[in-house]
Amino acid sequence: MRKWIIFGLALSLSAGCAKRDDVIKIGEYGSLTGTTATFGVSTKNGIDMATEEINAAGGLLGKKIQVIVEDDRGLADEAASAVKKLVTQDKVVAVLGEVASSRSLAGAPICQENKIPMVTPSSTNPEVTKKGDYIFRICFIDPFQGEAMAKFAFENLKVKKAAILKDSKNDYSVGLAQYFAETFKGLGGQIVAEESYFEGDQDFKAQLTSIKGKKPEAIFIPGYYTEVGLIARQARELGLNIPLLGGDGWDSPKLTEIATLKKPGDALKDCYFSNHYAADDPNPVIQDFIKKYKAKYEEVPDAMAVLGYDAAHILYDAIKRAGSPEGAKIRDELAKTANFPGVAGQTTIDSARNARKPLVVLKIGEGGAYEYMATVNP
């Protein structure tokens, strides 16, 4: 055991000695293991792809980009350790991460204190960017998405009675549910049931049976695809044949694969969710991304991969404009980001360092294919 420590320290010393000035070091922290690992790994895939593209095109400021990835096992204290290591040992110029707001909140104060810009791809909790002027996000915040889906349900689908099934362990899900409920009630709708589950659950029949008894016209399920697929199956098994609605956590090829009873994706047929982009959008940025991602990873990208890819590109673009790898300059340029043509829409960073960009509402149709329904602007 002691040998390991000495070995580790020796390695860290040797890593510290070999100063390489020919690369720009970017730090990334994420959940590569643990219960939310699948999101961390998708994000990493997106970031890796963006980095490769920039490096293939000659790099940044005449140097190659080196992304140093640290795993936080999905724990807040490990996230703090990982960021501390990236910032003080590896001396990265900027940090990308985390997927979950709870871990971003642990990493953000450290980046702020050391004046290292941090760009989170998918932490939706409004608190994250309030940690300081070096903290940015490129995803929607909870209120925007929750409100958009509430309006869509009430106005486009003419739903008057809705139920909510949320993941009580997940801040993203709880936030979306809250803003959906507020907006939906404000429009004159009625929330007839609000039930919850916990990430990692497999059986949702108790909640679904209870919801069925309240006779809603639609259910809002602001969770991740890992559970939503099973929820949809079980809803249909219980004979609950009403539309299910959700947010960008649904976006994954696995969703319709799991939600398959007889034909592909049939358990989610005629369900709606909000997303960053529509896969059938002819925009070359989107089509190019999907094609390259499929070629590289042999699967269709999910929302996390898209956001990781955009976050990396927005950061690299800011570094390029800053003309120097200094934290303060990168921060200034990040703040000036306007109409960046990302895969997940034209992204503008507002004065609160949050992203302003449109969302699209998609419908799941025959064979699990997504159909574009509407665009909602902030």
Partner: protein, 329 residues
């Protein structure tokens, strides 16, 4: 008099450490030092319940969570008011006064939960007690998820960063000293007798009920303070940090160190905090970090089942400056 002098000496020493260490030591190592100290407090306090008294508890993360959340609520909601009324004091003193108050509040609330959990331990043995403590930890976590005032699923953020090196070092020293001297006292013999043979202990006139409950109360008190340090260090508390896996982690520490050995608990807590971090420097096989960690654990247990230090504890009292002269046997 000597005792007072020693206390003042330590106090000044820790204050100096607080002032100058951050300037000498790399912030990353300082961070690891802080996390190690928090784990040392957790391990040493669990050792009193589990190692010395032999009550198998799987709920230490629950005590930590209750202490952390209580103290964070105190500093977050009451703290500003207290500082406002203490405006005649220098700001730094007022802040640390609030933190002391929060530490005690966190410790006492956890101790109260320890009392509640200690009571079933009168009736339950071994694995059944383990399950009840595990259940307690999960109940605490689910309840926290449901209270919006302390952040619920979003986590309690914006906790003031009151934890500093002074508090870290002094509380770690205090925990070790308190548990060590308790174990070495006649009360300590009573704890041990409960572990070794409850019926025999009862027959010899040891009030086993009292000692079992008191072990839980004291262990929980220190775990609560560790939770307070943890929250005010990260400035964030999240229910996911306090799952049963955290309790397992602490159990692993005390068994790797050698059940019942305070010295072992300290060393193992430090090693097991640093090991996953050291494994970050594995380079190409970095993905194997947690696999190597679990393999190391298995191999260690097989090759040294009694833990690193077995039952051995160096006689801390020998180094204690104000020790009473012992009669020569």
């Amino acid at each position: 008099m000597k005792r007072l002098a020693a206390f003042i000496g330590f106090f000044l020493l820790f204050l100096l450490a607080n002032r100058f260490l951050p300037e000498i030591i790399d912030p990353y190592y300082l961070h690891l030092f802080t996390l190690s100290c928090i784990n040392v407090i957790l391990a040493v306090s669990l050792n009193l319940i589990n190692g010395t008294t032999g009550q198998f508890s799987l709920g230490h993360a629950g005590f930590m969570a209750v202490g952390g959340y209580t103290s964070a609520s105190l500093t977050f909601y009451l703290g500003p008011k207290i500082i406002a009324t203490l405006d005649f004091l220098p700001a730094i003193l007022a802040k640390n006064f609030v933190f002391l108050f929060a530490l005690l509040g966190g410790g006492l609330s956890a101790a109260f939960l320890g009392l509640l959990v200690g009571i079933p331990s009168l009736r339950l043995r071994g694995d059944y007690l383990a399950i009840v403590t595990l259940g307690m930890g999960e109940i605490v976590r689910v309840l926290i998820l449901n209270v919006e005032a302390i952040g619920g699923a979003r986590g309690f953020s914006d906790i003031p960063a009151y934890t500093n090196l002074f508090w870290i070092i002094s509380l770690t020293a205090l925990t070790i000293a308190a548990v060590a001297s308790l174990t070495a006292s006649s009360h300590g013999r009573a704890f041990l007798s409960v572990r070794e043979d409850e019926i025999a202990a009862e027959a010899m006139g040891v009030n086993t009920t009292y000692y079992k409950v008191i072990a839980f109360v004291i262990g929980a008190f220190f775990a609560g303070m560790a939770g307070c340090l943890f929250g005010h260090y990260l400035q964030l508390l999240h229910p996911n940090s306090f799952t049963f896996l955290k309790s397992f982690e602490i159990i692993i520490m005390i068994i790797v160190g050698g059940l019942g050995s305070i010295f072992g608990a300290v060393v193992a807590a430090v090693i097991l905090t640093l090991l996953p971090e050291a494994l970050r420097y594995l380079g190409p096989v970095k993905d194997w970090r947690m696999v190597i960690y679990s393999l190391a654990l298995i191999i260690l247990m097989i090759t040294r089942p009694q833990g690193l230090f077995g039952n051995w504890t160096p006689d801390f009292r020998r180094w204690w400056p104000f020790r009473k002269p012992q009669p020569v046997a």
